[in-house]
Assembly symmetry: C5
Homo-oligomer: 324 residues x 5
């Protein structure tokens, strides 16, 4: 479904709400800049695309299919077909969900396609509606702006993960619950997934900034290089985050085992103090006919004192050896 | 054994059930497209092959031998010898079993060879029987279609593994049994095996799509590039799956140790509550002549209350410290 | 904010406290060497920069933004834009904090920019104030001196980490506390962070020393190579440090588990010695009418001796098997 | 010591038992093919070699010394000096022992040298004795045959390791003994050692098959490529084996800890059931003057029933919670 | 301090004990070969060096400073500046200590510099004193001989580590002490350090053997290649050693935990046997008025037998289940 189509005339006028025929007309002139954004492309749209832009059927198929495609650039001489991944911000899920943006970058047109609404695209559309001059710099710059917005949207996700990690660390340290482990593991997995999104993307942007493609002007390359730097920074942050999560996991495990050990130690200490005392009581519970202590006047009180002394000595001894 | 042989004449007519002599004749003309599919090649078949196609003896030997050969491309100028691996879908085993497809890709012929029946090959044969025009695009496209079908058959296996992993996670969390561990380990091993099948394959397809070989036309290269993208996606999924299995393994181990710890803790707590009580009972079981408490009217009931107080206090204390 | 601006005239005279207009003038002559150092660049400063030096807006933006940028070199033909990271020495934090130095290296000028005061820069400024001839060797050497000072400032941090590691090892061995684990983990993380600062830096300096850029004279390249060697040495030290920290962590874990085991073993031994004795006492506490031992004259003393023998034998046995 | 020397004349006649002078004569003609095999080369042999073939002293030294040399190819223009490693099959040791084969590959001669008897070499010698035509295809093919036999001899070792691994898995699962761990560790080490033998070898053979050396004819290269494929397959098998051993190790560790836990749990359960019962018995062992239950007619039997109820309830409870 | 200076005249005469002026003279002639060895270079020596050889100040500074410099080659056209690391054999420390040898390799001179006495250098000096012809082959061969001796000195260290590892394995298996763990960890660290010394060295020697530098003659390159092979072998041995140490560490940990478990199991078994017996004794220690068994004539003896039966049955049961 064609969601939106802009055309900036060579005179700087911005036209919107174009029909297929108009688009065909503008393309034929070879001047100005045309941007067509499509959402949830259907087979019908695909046919129109083929008629108007003569895109390669394989590239069109990638737009239609709901599968995830790895980030890539295919060079079809007249146009580049670029797939980049973003993290859609209004999806509040625990796992990292990637959204896919397919870009056809031609000399004087840009065709974008995505399955779900994308914040980075819609905000760009709004900004152009307000000021058509944003399209003045050409198709390569327009593609840059889109990819830049996509990459910028990754940062808040990383910050959220960072916060969650801190919160999990506190929890792991002070009240390690089974649930905490699940959350740590989930976070770890999310970070790994994020890493896998960023890494190939970096390579794509690197190639765009290297002058490998004639459609990216030298002036634009510096700007693509800037996105590349952002991705490198994001990668550094992600790696740091991964170390932190590893460390939280260790904290959790050591915290749990520590707690368990503490409990077992205290319990065993209590048993250890009372077992010898019970033995002493057992001795004077024997029924021998001739047990002189039993007849002593203060035998009972004496033995109580002896027991107290034994018990307290053991407790003090354990305390001193830092066992308690 | 020659399982099937098709010949598409330059006029678009499809011939089937060809004899060796006919094949020889068609090859000599250098026109049309010939596809010969063989299953479980014997030494005899090998001799026929040598007579007709003049393949290199080493390549023919690779077809005859039942060993597993790593995926590869050998360029013999007149033809390419390609080995790719698939996962045969009708084999329902717990371990990943790879099936091997050997392809001789010539200018106007395709010879395929496999040891066991392969779903991707047989479905292709059926489709051609119905519509001979599928062979119209040439040998390179025919080879593409076969490899594409092979790669597509990997996806269901990954999905099955994913499901099994989810099911094992639930089991690991709620009733970790020794058996569960075995299954997790098996799954982990299967995923590693799968990774090793996909990785070299990706390289093979990459080389086919790069214009390295004259026999692959430029038009076909884009289609090979498409298979390459599929393999990259499969690799991403496999890596994600590996992380998940690692996480399930951790869940299992932590689940088992947690359960054990819980049991030991409760048992030790019970002992810890009763040991001091037994000591108190031991005291009043001593036979000292002079033990005033024994003569008190409510001494017995008093001591029972004291014991109850001690027991309950300990239990409450343990409860409060979250030990119970 | 322009913090400092030096101009060394071709005659070897050093001018300071220059205004924007003067700077413009000197630049126009194309002779002598100009160094402008700026701290916490504002949008206003940025505008001046653009007017005077005609730097690329993206590079200027990198100076203004407070974000961390990965180390890099951007070649804008007329000048190089270099970002290097240092570890500011007067920050006494437990985590490694990197400070960023942005350098514009032109033919006859050097513009440096940083967000916070940097020891390496200020000491350089002081040295030039005392002896202007330090600027005689040109902009490439001046940039070298700054980067060299930056790298030299990393060494003390490594030494501090080394010391802390040794101290933690002693603590881990003799009094492993929960806190110790936290500190080890923190140190480990710091070292990983440090590694990530050094690695890309090394690549930057390597490229500067390789004759890749026309603005770095051949004479200066050898000096950049020297910084490269320092970075390689620092990397080797960091790797060694990482091994040591791993080893301290193992020591800690084994130390804690050892201690716990010792405690449990001793406690269990005590219980094991007294439980059989209590059983013996229990036997003679039974109330059977016919228990001949009870009537023996020295039965009681005999049984005390028997108990002592049993207890001592067990203790000796445990001692011999090295269990105690 | 020259163990064997063959000379195939240009007329297809096979000469054996050649003296040094004869060898010199044949070499001078530059026709036919000469193969000299030497075992346990002495300094004397070395001198002869130098006189006849004019090999580089360093290569000769590598043949004399008993040290292990990494696999390599040295190109001395007139001849290649190749070192490859095999696993000698008649050595039945638990650790992987590599045997070294040094090959001097000239235009019309092959000189091989090894310290110990090698199965692959001696079987080759036997086959040539029976049929001299095996040497017809030239020195490069002869070297290929030797290296091929060497590589083929690795397979049985891998199969043996595989079997041993399976057997260890059963043992680890059903009767994990200390010895089992030792054997698993040994196997793991052997596999690592094997990997280290195969990896550099693969590189060597790859270079021989790439047309890098003029002495290897284009026809022979395809055959070297075949060995390369074998080595890749062996590497895949070795990697799979490594995963399996890792898994057996995990099985062992989990099996041992499981067993231990089971024992401790049962023991603790027994204690937990009897400790409360002993406490009850302790209560009625107290000597209070006023304990009404003691006077009841069926007090004793009543209390026995109470105890049985408590004991059985506890056992049932534990059973239900799957603790027993 | 100039430790030694040799000059081999073109006529094959060896001069020793040369003064600075003489050295200058010989250099001027451009003939013969000069070797100057220096130990613990001071600033003064540095000045002389600058005067005579005109070395780059940075290279000279590397000789003076006591820091560790990574192995490297700097090409200053007229001469190469090489830093290689050795392991000085007469240092008997537990940690691997590297010694540094700086080599200035000119067309007709060699200047070596080291901070501490080095066995490889001094033995070379001795050999030349005895036979000056060792210098006949030129500066590149002389440098080769030195580096070769340095590398050969690494072998004994590896053998010592190997022996220590075997000894630690026995200790880990039969009497694992806390100290053993420390030693294993130390060994592991030493091996890692050794690996880091060898790896960059290999690269250096590889570059010397590749014909990258005009000062290394083609004839000498083969000899450098030989050193390279030695380093590869050493690396293989080091990797094998690392695996062995890992395995010893596992042995230690499993040995310790095994021992602990055995102790706890035996102790718990003892307790488990006596706790039910004590309960039985407790029953007959109760003071009920009506307890018929107490009145039986052989009640006491009967109950002793019952207890013995219970105790023995339990022991037999535990024995059978292999718990004891």
């Amino acid at each position: 479904m064609i969601q939106c189509a802009f055309y900036l005339t060579p005179d700087g006028e911005l036209l919107e709400q174009l029909g297929i025929e108009q688009i065909k007309g503008f393309l034929a002139t070879g001047e100005g800049l045309l941007w067509v954004d499509m959402e949830a492309v259907t087979d019908e749209d695909a046919e129109s695309l083929s008629n108007v832009f003569r895109f390669h059927p394989l590239a069109v198929e990638d737009c239609i299919s709901k599968d995830i495609h790895p980030p890539k650039i295919d060079d079809f001489d007249d146009y580049l077909f670029i797939i980049v991944h973003g993290i859609n911000y209004h999806i509040e899920s625990e796992v990292v969900e990637t959204t896919e943006l397919a870009i056809f970058l031609g000399k004087n047109y840009l065709v974008t396609s995505h399955d779900v609404p994308m914040r980075s695209v819609s905000s760009m559309l709004d900004r152009i509606r307000k000021d058509g001059r944003l399209m003045r710099r050409g198709a390569d710059f327009l593609a840059h702006d889109l990819i830049d917005a996509l990459v910028d949207n990754i940062m808040p996700t990383i910050e959220e993960m960072d916060e969650k990690n801190d919160q999990l660390e506190v929890e792991a340290l002070h009240e390690p619950k089974r649930e905490t482990l699940m959350l740590i593991m989930q976070l770890k997995r999310s970070i790994l997934a994020l890493t896998r999104v960023i890494l190939p993307q970096r390579e794509i942007v690197n190639r765009l900034s290297r002058g490998e493609y004639a459609l990216i002007s030298e002036r634009a390359q510096i700007y693509y290089r800037n996105i590349y730097d952002h991705l490198v920074r994001i990668e550094m942050l992600t790696l740091g985050l991964r170390d932190m999560t590893e460390s939280v996991l260790s904290t959790y495990l050591s915290s749990v085992s520590n707690r368990m050990n503490e409990v077992m130690k205290v319990l065993t200490l209590i048993a250890t103090i009372f077992i010898p005392l019970t033995f002493v009581a057992g001795i004077y519970g024997m029924n021998f006919a001739n047990m002189p202590e039993l007849e002593w006047r203060y035998g009972y009180f004496g033995i109580l004192i002896v027991m107290a002394v034994i018990g307290i000595s053991l407790a003090v001894y354990f305390k001193r050896r830092r066992w308690l």
